[in-house]
Symmetry: C2
Subunit: 387 residues, 2 copies
C-alpha cells in the first residue's frame, strides 16, 4: 500500500517603501477575516508598534500582540514555545495567522512556531532589518539553535506573504546595516559582479544613510539582492534537489565561529570572516586570483566588517568542515569564488589540510588589524571575547 | 517577486507477518548506507530489541539505539528534544534516518523530531501496537500535547516507509488491543459496514488472541483498516483540501476527555466514549436509527470498551465543540454516522444545544455500567479518576 503527498505553495515578496502607510494597505489584505497574532520585539514595537496597531485597527483585523525580547542567543525552542503558548492562549485557529514583525531572529522563531501550531498555520513576515529583508525573512526556512548548534532544528514552512519596506532600515544601528551588507556581499560574490561593484561604489553612503541613500541605488541593490537570493532558493526550496547551494558561501566556518563565541559574535560578522577565509583559501588553492581575493578583503575592511577573529583556529576550521559534511549529506560542498560573481564547489576535504588553513589564518590575522573591527565588535568587552 | 515551492513524496506501507525474520529483510533496505538512530521503548526493547539489533548488525547498518519510557502523558516537546539531542550527539546527518520502533506515541514523537532535525531528515516507522499499525503510525503526522492540549503542536512529515508486522501484536496487553479496536470500529462506522460486521463476528477471538486469530480474518481486518484509513488520508494528506475529515469521527469530544483526565483516560477509551456519544446524538437528532446506534453501543460494551465516563458533562461537550471549531477553521464538522458504514457532517453548532447533550449523557450513564469498563479502566485507582 502506498500514500502519495504533494504540497504546492506560492507566495509573493512585495518590496515597497512606505508599506505601513494606509494608502499602501492593500499589502495587508492577506490578514483580512483572520484572527492575527503579531509577534514583535521591544525596539520595533517602540518605533513602529503604534502605526502597526493603527493600521490593523483601521482594517478591522481582529488581532493580538506579543512583544518578545529576541536575539541570536535567544533563538531557542523556549522562545518558539512562548509563541506557541500565546497563540493557543489567544485562540489562534487553523485558518488564522501569525505576523513576524522584526528581524531575522523574529522570522526564524515565528516561522518555526507557525509550522508546528496545529501542524502548520499561516504566517506573514514583515522583516525590519536588512538581513531580514534580503535573506532570513524571504525564504521558507525557520529555525533555532539547539545544544549550542546553529540552526540545527527548524522547518521549511513557506510564509503566506513577505512585505519588505526599506523605510524600516532608516532607524537601524550601523552594525545591523553591516550584518545585511555582509549577506549582500555574499550573494554578489557568487552570482553578480555588478552588485559587488555597486556595493563598492556606494558602500559608505549605504551604511551611513542606513540604506536610504543613494535614492535609486539603495533600492536597486536591495531589490537585486532579493532577486538573486530568490533565484537561488527557487531551484531548490527544500534543499532536497542538491546539497550544493551557492548561498552556503560564507556559511561553512561561520556557524562554528558563532557557536564558539556563545553567539556573541554576530552572524554577519561571522559570515564576513568566513568569506575572507574562503577567498584566501581559494587563492592559496589557485582557484581565485590574488587580485580578486584582495578586492573582497579590502571591501570588507573598508566597510568595517571583520576578516579575522582570535577564535579562528585550524581546529575550528577542521571541526567546521566535519559539521558541514554531516549537514551536507557527507560532502563538504565548500563554495569558493573563482572570480567575483562566480563560484564553484569543493566537494571533498582532501585539499583542505592543516597547512593551508594555517597559512590562511596567519595571512588574515596580520594586515590592518584596526580596520578589521566592525562597529559592534569595537565595544571593548566584546573585543576581548571574539577578536 | 514570487517563490514557488512544491514537495512531492510517496512512501510504502508494507504489511507482512514476520518482518524481523532475516528472510524478510528486504523491507529494511531503506536503511542501507545510512547512519540510523533507533528509538524504542523499554517493553519493545525487552521483547524485540535483540532481534532488531541482530538484524541491523547482519545488514551492516551503522546504528545507534535509544530507549525512552514513553506514554501519552509524556508525548511532550521535552521528549522530542531528547530525541533531537541524541540525534545530534550521535552525529545523525542530513541523509541519515531515525527509526520509530514502538507504539503510536513513539511514532508521533520520532516523526516530529525527524521533521525538525536539520529542517527535516527521513524516518521509518515500525509500529508495534494495533493503534500504531492501523492509525497513528501509517500517516504523515507527528505531534505532541502542549499546555494540556492534545496534539496541538506537530507536523506533516511523511516517513520513508512504514513496516507493519502483525506478529508484534501477539505480546500486547488486552487493553492495548482494545485501543486499536476502537480505531478500527471508528473507520468501519464511517466507511465500511462489512468491516464492522467482521469485528462483531470475530471480536472476542481477536481480543483474546491478540489479533493472531482467526488466522485469515485478523490479517484481513488489519489490512482493510489500513486500506480504508489510507484511502481517507490520500484525499487530503495535509488537511488543506478540506477540514471535513471522516477520520475525525470519535475525535471531537475525546481530546477534551483525555485532557480533562490529565491523559489518564486512554485515547482509545476516549474515542469509544466519543463514538457512543456521537451515535446517541445522531439518534436524538433523527440522523441514525435507534437500531444502528444500539448495535454500535452494544459492540463497544461487548468488547469491553467504555461508552461513558463521569468526566462527560454538558460543559465538556460545549468546550469540545468550541475547540473543534478553532481547529476546523470555524466549522464544527462533527462526523455523525447516518447508518453503519456511512457518515455525514454537522457543520454548524445550532442543533447541538444543552438539552440534547444532557439527554445523551443521561442515556449513556445508565445501561449496564459494569460492561462499560475496559481492562485498563478496571484498575480501581484509575476507575475512581475517570469513570
Amino acid at each position: 500500500m502506498r500514500l502519495e503527498n504533494n504540497l504546492s505553495r506560492t507566495f509573493d515578496i512585495l518590496v515597497e517603501p512606505g508599506l505601513l502607510e494606509s494608502k499602501h494597505s492593500d499589502a495587508f489584505s492577506v490578514l483580512d477575516d483572520r484572527h492575527v497574532l503579531v509577534i514583535t520585539t521591544p525596539t520595533v514595537d517602540r518605533l513602529y508598534g503604534e502605526r502597526m496597531r493603527d493600521l490593523l485597527a483601521t482594517r478591522s483585523v481582529d488581532f493580538d500582540y506579543l512583544v518578545l525580547e529576541l536575539s541570536e542567543a535567544r533563538k531557542t525552542l523556549d522562545y518558539v514555545q512562548q509563541v506557541c503558548a500565546s497563540a493557543i492562549y489567544y485562540g489562534i485557529g487553523r485558518k488564522d495567522t501569525l505576523v513576524a514583525f522584526g528581524g531575522g531572529v523574529c522570522s526564524d522563531i515565528v516561522g518555526f512556531a507557525a509550522s508546528m501550531i496545529r501542524r502548520g498555520i499561516s504566517h506573514i513576515r514583515i522583516p525590519t532589518t536588512l538581513v531580514g529583508q534580503m535573506d532570513a525573512g524571504i525564504g521558507i526556512k525557520g529555525g533555532v539553535n539547539f545544544r549550542s548548534k546553529k540552526n540545527v532544528l527548524g522547518c521549511f514552512h513557506p510564509p503566506a506573504a513577505v512585505l519588505v519596506d526599506p523605510v524600516f532600515l532608516a532607524t537601524l544601528a550601523i552594525p545591523s546595516i553591516l550584518q545585511g551588507l555582509s549577506e549582500i556581499i555574499k550573494v554578489a560574490l557568487v552570482a553578480d559582479r555588478y552588485l559587488f561593484e555597486a556595493v563598492g561604489t556606494h558602500g559608505e553612503t549605504l551604511v551611513f544613510s542606513r540604506f536610504q541613500q543613494p535614492d535609486d541605488a539603495s533600492l536597486e541593490i536591495l531589490n537585486q539582492s532579493i532577486k538573486l537570493t530568490l533565484a537561488e532558493l527557487q531551484q531548490n526550496p527544500f534543499e532536497d534537489q542538491t546539497l550544493e547551494r551557492l548561498l552556503d558561501f560564507g556559511h561553512t566556518f561561520s556557524p562554528d565561529l558563532e557557536e564558539e563565541s556563545g553567539f556573541v559574535l554576530s552572524h554577519g560578522d561571522a559570515v564576513a570572516i568566513d568569506m575572507a577565509l574562503t577567498c584566501t583559501l581559494a587563492t592559496e588553492l589557485g582557484i581565485m586570483s590574488v587580485e580578486d581575493s584582495g578586492e573582497v578583503i579590502s571591501l570588507l575592511q573598508r566597510l568595517g566588517l571583520p576578516i579575522w577573529s582570535r577564535l579562528l583556529s585550524v581546529n575550528l576550521c577542521h571541526s567546521a568542515i566535519c559539521h558541514a559534511m554531516v549537514h551536507r549529506g557527507g560532502a563538504v560542498n565548500l563554495v569558493v569564488p573563482t572570480t567575483i560573481g562566480k563560484a564553484r564547489f569543493i566537494r571533498s576535504p582532501e585539499q583542505l589540510d592543516e597547512n593551508v588553513f594555517r597559512r590562511c589564518i596567519d595571512k588574515l590575522s596580520k594586515p590592518n588589524e584596526d580596520l578589521t573591527l566592525s562597529g559592534i565588535a569595537k565595544s571593548e568587552s566584546l573585543r576581548k571575547i571574539v577578536m
